[in-house]
């Protein structure tokens, strides 16, 4: 276990080294940061002076070694836009993203397991067919479209009336369709400070209200995938000999479904889930942009638009770290669920 963690630590360092090198190598293609820092009528001589001051004229190796030397002392430089150390900027934006991902993950787990299991147990029920067709649609709609539609329906409200309003039934149908909206369209509202830079939306009903639409949009990407995955795995497990055997022995169906079958179903789901949580972090960029959710994704997109290279490099390194950490956690959990797996990596 200790050896495994040490190995993973080296793994993380290697990943971060490679990412920093790549991010640094492409920085010339990200645009001129000086351009973003000065007004349009600033003369070239002033720009050159700033470039010199920022060390942008030094050769690549010099710039990288300077960065790497500071990074080893946990100094990742100053964001050009925020005028603050990049680590501070990210620490301030990280909680918003983590809360959003947590809420989306919660939605995915809470919905995908019951729906997946149900549709495996009752593959022919009309409800199953409904879930399956909705999930096909869900997979094919891009997240920003989901987000815009959610905003239109639940924040702005629909005011169009397709049915004749002068008939009783038409008015009633229009009434059912029209909604006043009422959900917040953007931002986090007034999150409550917990400690340090961490402010939470989970502590109040108002805070949760701000979380709902972004979390639903973010969850909408993974939810159909997980429902289908759980369903497929469960169907397979239910066909297996040991389930048939258990059934023959007269063990109650409830016990077979939820103890024996579900446990084996979850093994591959956890592996996929771990990888997908990393992807979820990446998808927050889209969701956060549409909802102006002040997290890392929105920050990253702004940093790209403004060529804030130190912030971009730090962000990429931290996302790399998150991937390594989630993968490590997945492996640990996998070991807990299935004790035959050995963490040192050799198959049992």
């Amino acid at each position: 276990m200790i050896a495994f963690l040490i190995k993973r630590l080296f793994h993380a360092l290697l990943v971060m080294f490679v990412i920093s090198l790549i991010a640094f190598a492409i920085q010339d293609n990200l645009g001129d940061p000086i351009q973003q820092l000065v007004g349009q009528s600033v003369p070239e001589s002033e720009r050159e002076a700033l470039r010199e001051e920022f060390g942008l004229n030094d050769p690549f190796i010099t710039q990288y070694l300077r960065f790497a030397g500071n990074a080893l002392q946990l100094d990742f430089g100053y964001s050009y836009v925020f005028n603050q150390p990049t680590t501070e900027v990210i620490a301030r934006h990280l909680p918003a993203t983590l809360e959003l991902v947590a809420a989306a993950t919660f939605l995915i787990i809470a919905l995908s397991i019951p729906i997946g299991v149900y549709s495996a147990i009752k593959p022919r029920a009309w409800l199953t067919r409904f879930f399956m067709s909705v999930s096909i649609v869900g997979i094919s709609i891009p997240v920003f479209l989901t987000a815009i539609v959610l905003i239109q329906i639940f924040a702005i409200g629909i005011s169009w009336a397709p049915f004749p309003a002068d008939t009783g039934w038409g008015a009633w149908l229009n009434d059912v369709l029209s909604t006043e909206g009422g959900m917040p369209a953007y931002g986090r509202g007034d999150p409550v400070p917990v400690f340090g830079p961490w402010e939470t939306n989970f502590s109040s009903l108002d805070g949760l209200k701000y979380l709902v639409l972004p979390a639903v949009s973010l969850a909408s990407i993974m939810l159909p995938l997980f429902i289908r995955l759980i369903r497929a795995e469960m169907l397979e497990v239910l066909q297996s000999d040991y389930v048939k055997f258990a059934r023959a022995k007269g063990i109650s169906m409830r016990r077979i479904y939820f103890l024996h079958a579900l446990k084996n179903t979850m093994l591959p789901v956890i592996t996929v889930g771990g990888v997908q949580i990393g992807t979820l972090v990446a998808y927050t960029i889209l969701t956060e942009t549409v909802f102006q959710w002040p997290g890392m994704g929105l920050m990253f997109l702004n940093a790209i638009q403004r060529s804030d290279i130190p912030l971009i490099v730090t962000y990429l390194m931290i996302v790399g770290l998150i991937f390594v950490i989630t993968n490590t956690l997945v492996d640990l959990i996998y070991g807990l669920v299935n004790p035959t797996v050995k963490l040192t990596g050799k198959p049992a």
């Binding site: 007004g39 005028n83 002040p294």
Partner: protein, 539 residues
């Protein structure tokens, strides 16, 4: 009820009407609702597409910083809606001699810190502006500023300079006592730091209508009305302003339509109709002063040295069509750089769209079969910029010119622009001085790396006589004579077809119906929010 204000070409008459309307409604509100209005806390939640980068108003010369300056500070003078000067902290000014202007300052003004505002602060501020990397170039003409007495200041220019009042709109006096001395980290409080924390980038003391209560950069800034604001005549009644940057166009509009914010800018052209139709919001548009144009690089393409070819290009491009269809009317077709409100504007210059004439000219110049060129445009800097470039490319195809178009995000575009990396390049320009000469100095003057002239002249058009004329105009104190000179410049550029003009990009704002935004908006896009009136929701 849908209230839509649309003042496309002329700003003047429309404004007078709204001003009158405001005056009347303000009187009525004052008489009838005074007791309730005095108790109600008015909050305006607003969303711009970007956040000002710093609280130090001398750190960057940008729209965001100028908007912030008008909230936290007051300029010596400011533009009104018809581009006349309106006294603010300077109540009076007179030209003492060719190079000296004496300004009388208000004597009843205090800074947010409680320090009184004096001539000393104006001198201090001008000296700081001359040190700021972003502002020093435009403050070059000012030689010095001197205190005459506590409320009188004299500004000396290097040579006779007709645009001193234009510059005075950039002088937002800062609290010299507040910004003097050393900050806790040992650095001087008045230092201007481009990237990094300075005292001035996080602490403010101005004379303006608002103070900063809380600021989380990129997320939210809260302003509170300055209780000691000197301008008692200002009808402004907003107690708290909350600014949230919302960079995503669709979300910004959604936030307004759902009632989460009360004021947004800019309104993206694709959503104009939606906002106009909404019962809960109103839209205000104005013809802007930012020219969108294309340079034709004479150094890269030999054919562009021939005025007939350049003219053929000007004839081939359908400005009206782009403004109408592509911009959905959200642009004013242009045939010159100066918009109507500028002194250099020549009324008779109208877009010349005539494909047959363009073909003739191409044939005359010996290019009947056309040629191939490259074109570059940003794709996220100006409204519909990439689409405009595509449209122009399609129009040029009709005179047999083959265009290789490349569009880039703005972060990468300007580097290519500085390298003059394509034969035709798109640029938008707004004159910092609200003056015609500025266009010529940056966009069409003979490029000169030392003086900075023609810094954005990617066409390499060069006419030394025009440069001389502009230089003379910039020393001409007789404003009528000066206007004539600048009009002559526009006429010559038009006759030479020095560039391909496209349009002036319009401006659009939208707000909740109870906010009287019309009187506080202007073509510079610095809403004077200090004067904003918000009616009680009950109405």
């Amino acid at each position: 009820m849908t209230v839509t204000t649309s003042s496309r070409t002329t700003v003047g008459p429309r404004i007078k009407k709204t001003l009158l309307a405001t005056a009347i409604s303000a009187t009525l509100a004052g008489a009838g609702l005074f007791a309730t209005a005095a108790q109600a806390e008015n909050t305006l939640r607003m969303a711009y597409d970007a956040d000002p980068v710093s609280l130090d108003i001398h750190e960057q010369l940008s729209g965001g910083i100028m908007q912030l300056s008008h909230l936290l500070f007051d300029p010596l003078v400011r533009w009104d809606q018809s581009l006349n000067f309106e006294p603010r902290l300077a109540t009076d000014w007179e030209q003492v001699d060719d190079t000296t202007m004496r300004m009388t300052l208000r004597d009843d003004v205090t800074f947010h810190s409680g320090n009184p505002f004096t001539a000393e602060d104006v001198v201090w501020t001008i000296e700081r502006l001359k040190r700021s990397p972003d502002f020093k170039a435009i403050f070059d003409p000012i030689a010095s500023a001197e205190v005459v007495d506590e409320h009188t200041v004299e500004i000396n220019t290097v040579r006779p300079y007709p645009l001193l009042l234009n510059l005075a709109t950039y002088i937002f006096p800062m609290d010299s006592e507040f910004y003097s001395g050393k900050a806790p980290d040992g650095d001087p409080k008045d230092e201007i730091v481009k990237n990094g924390n300075s005292y001035a980038s996080t602490h403010v003391s101005g004379t303006g209508p608002y103070t900063v209560v809380e600021r989380q950069q990129g997320v939210r800034t809260e302003f509170a009305r300055n209780p000691d604001y000197w301008d008692d005549a200002s009808p402004g009644n907003v107690d708290t302003l909350v600014l949230t940057p919302i960079s995503e166009n669709a979300t910004r509009v959604a936030a307004l339509l759902s009632g989460d914010v009360d004021f947004i800018a800019p309104v993206p052209p694709n959503d104009l109709e939606r906002v106009r139709q909404s019962d809960d919001a109103k839209l205000v548009t104005m013809s802007g002063t930012r020219i969108i144009m294309l340079h034709m690089n004479q150094k890269r393409v030999e054919a562009f040295e021939d005025p007939r070819v350049r003219k053929a290009f000007a004839y081939a491009v359908n400005q009206e069509g782009i403004a109408d269809r592509l911009m959905k009317g959200f642009a004013t077709p242009a045939a010159q750089m100066s918009p109507e409100s500028y002194v250099g504007h020549v009324d008779s210059l109208t877009p010349r769209y005539d494909v047959a004439r363009a073909k003739e000219l191409m044939a005359e110049a010996g290019y009947a079969d056309g040629f191939e060129i490259s074109m570059m445009s940003p794709n996220n800097r100006y409204v519909n910029d990439a689409k405009i470039a595509q449209a122009v490319a399609a129009m040029l195809a009709r005179i047999n010119v083959d265009v290789n178009l490349k569009t880039l995000p703005k972060a990468q575009y300007w580097g290519e622009f500085d390298n003059r990396a394509a034969d035709m390049m798109l640029i938008g320009w707004h004159a910092d001085t609200e003056d015609s000469a500025n266009f010529h100095e940056y966009l069409t003057a003979c490029p000169d790396a030392d003086s900075g002239a023609g810094q954005y002249n990617a066409g390499n058009y060069c006419n030394p006589e025009l440069d001389k004329l502009v230089m003379e105009a910039n020393q001409e104190i007789d404003l009528e004579k000066r206007a004539e000179m600048l009009q002559q410049v526009e006429q010559t550029l038009y006759d030479d077809a020095a560039f391909v003009p496209l349009h002036w990009q319009d401006l659009a704002w939208a707000s909740a119906v109870n906010a009287e935004i019309e009187p506080v908006l202007n073509v510079m896009n610095f809403p004077y929010l200090g004067d904003l009136v918000v009616h009680d929701n009950a109405e």
